[in-house]
Amino acid sequence: MATTGFDLVTPSATLFAGQAEMIVCKSVDGEIAFLAEHEPFIGALDPCLVRIVAPEPAVAGSGGAVANGPSGPEVRIAVHGGFVEVKDNHVIMLADIAERPEEIDVAQARADEAEATTRASSGAGAGDSDRVAEIDLEWARARLEAAGQ
């Protein structure tokens, strides 16, 4: 299957640099997937789970497509908001924070989820602070999902 170049970078590390068949993430307007030869696109991301379908493992192994990441057909990374740009069959994802499954503290994420849920439900109609709770909740859920919980 055709692939697209994909980079996922944060201020502290490059989490993915290589080829991918498909990248699934969530923009502010809803879930979106990028395949090879996607048209030029700039979008803002919500906290979400990014799923990267890497090419066949053999290809991934020989080409070293997965940099610093677990090799395999699907790479999961939790992303705390950011941006995505697609241009010339290359997807660049900029995340302010991103965590790989093995970096995620599941207990902490669960605690954050519970705490953000109460804040989101109690602070209904509080405008901006409402949105903060929502983002925290999405981030906690994305981490749990990435960790396979």
């Binding site: 980079d7 970078v9 490059t14 307007d29 048209e39 700039i42 979008g43 302010d96």
Partner: protein, 321 residues
């Protein structure tokens, strides 16, 4: 009396030696931290570079020019200077260079009738300006050696709202740029209003390579909304880069200062040893002279009295002297 001087010198040498151990240890610690600080700069570089690229592409869209952070205010009245110093001293001229630059900028702005406020990152800068009663808008301490993205975000969160509310017209950034281990310079740049040319800097060649026609992007959500999110991220990345560069520069400056201190201690110990040895030699010579003098006196006395055994005992000393 002469032996006392030797004791004093010996004590001094011991004290210099223990100081030397400390400066040597600090030198080694700084050297190892430079490596870590450099790694942090390298790790952040792709993010900052790609962010600039995206901003560059986005700023080609007509909406970008209307964004408030791009707006150049006609008459700048209120300026904020964000500057990065170390939390600790013992780094040679590192802190002094930044402070001197900030003071010069303050003088220039005030001479032009502008109101200046400071955003001090690092304990040394905070203490210096607070002691002198300068207006500090926001300060942050305890992060100079290991700045994180969260720290940069906090700084941006403090300075951008007043800018958007019109309480500030211009924000400048002063930090020490890390060029190499041997070379760091104080860097001054304007953070906001954004200078559009600066945004294109890294991407201009790529844009012209496309044949001059800007790529027709699909936006999700609207370009304005993306800009609203992207620009704070960019500012955060710029502040983070400045803090990371400053952290590496700080360690490099400290390593250099501590190396100089260690070398100095070596030199001092050598000089003190020489003085001490001379003092000891003097003391020995004086002692011999005293003994000889005493023997001579006794000999002359005994010659008058003619006491055999005592006389014999002192003869060899007289010969050796």
């Amino acid at each position: 009396m002469a032996g006392g001087q030797e004791r004093v010198l010996r004590r001094r040498i011991r004290s210099v030696e223990s100081t030397k151990k400390i400066t040597r240890a600090m030198e080694l610690i700084a050297a190892s931290r430079i490596v870590r600080a450099q790694q942090a700069i390298v790790a952040a570089r792709p993010y900052v570079g790609k962010l600039r690229e995206v901003i560059g592409h986005l700023s080609e869209s007509p909406e970008a020019a209307n964004h408030p952070l791009f707006h150049d205010v006609h008459s700048t009245q209120k300026v904020a200077i964000v500057f990065v110093t170390a939390d600790r001293g013992l780094a040679g001229g590192y802190n002094a260079n930044i402070i001197r630059t900030v003071e010069r900028m303050m003088r220039e702005h005030r001479a032009a009738g502008r109101d200046v406020q400071l955003v001090a990152l690092g304990r040394k800068g905070v203490n210096y300006f607070r002691y002198r009663g300068q207006p500090i808008l926001f300060s942050m301490i305890g992060v100079s050696e290991r700045p994180t993205y969260a720290d940069a975000r906090r700084v941006v969160g403090e300075v951008i709202p007043p800018f958007e509310a019109g309480q500030l017209d211009q924000i400048e950034l002063v930090y020490t740029r890390f060029i190499s281990i041997g070379s760091q310079t104080v860097q001054t740049r304007q953070l906001v209003p954004l200078v559009p040319e600066e945004g294109h800097e890294g991407t201009a060649p790529a844009a012209t390579a496309d044949g001059g026609s800007p790529t027709a992007y699909e936006f999700e959500p609207e370009p304005e909304e993306i800009l609203d999110r992207l620009i704070p991220s960019w500012l955060e990345a710029e502040v983070l880069t400045a803090m990371l560069e400053a952290a590496a520069s700080e360690q490099a400056a400290r390593q250099r200062a501590m190396k100089a201190a260690t070398d100095n201690a070596d030199e001092l110990i050598k000089t003190l040893r020489r003085v001490m040895n001379r003092a000891r030699q003097d003391a020995i010579t004086t002692e011999i002279m005293e003994i000889v003098g005493g023997a001579e006196a006794l000999r002359q006395q005994s010659r008058g009295d003619d006491h055999g055994p005592q006389h014999d005992a002192f003869v060899p000393i007289q010969e050796s002297a």
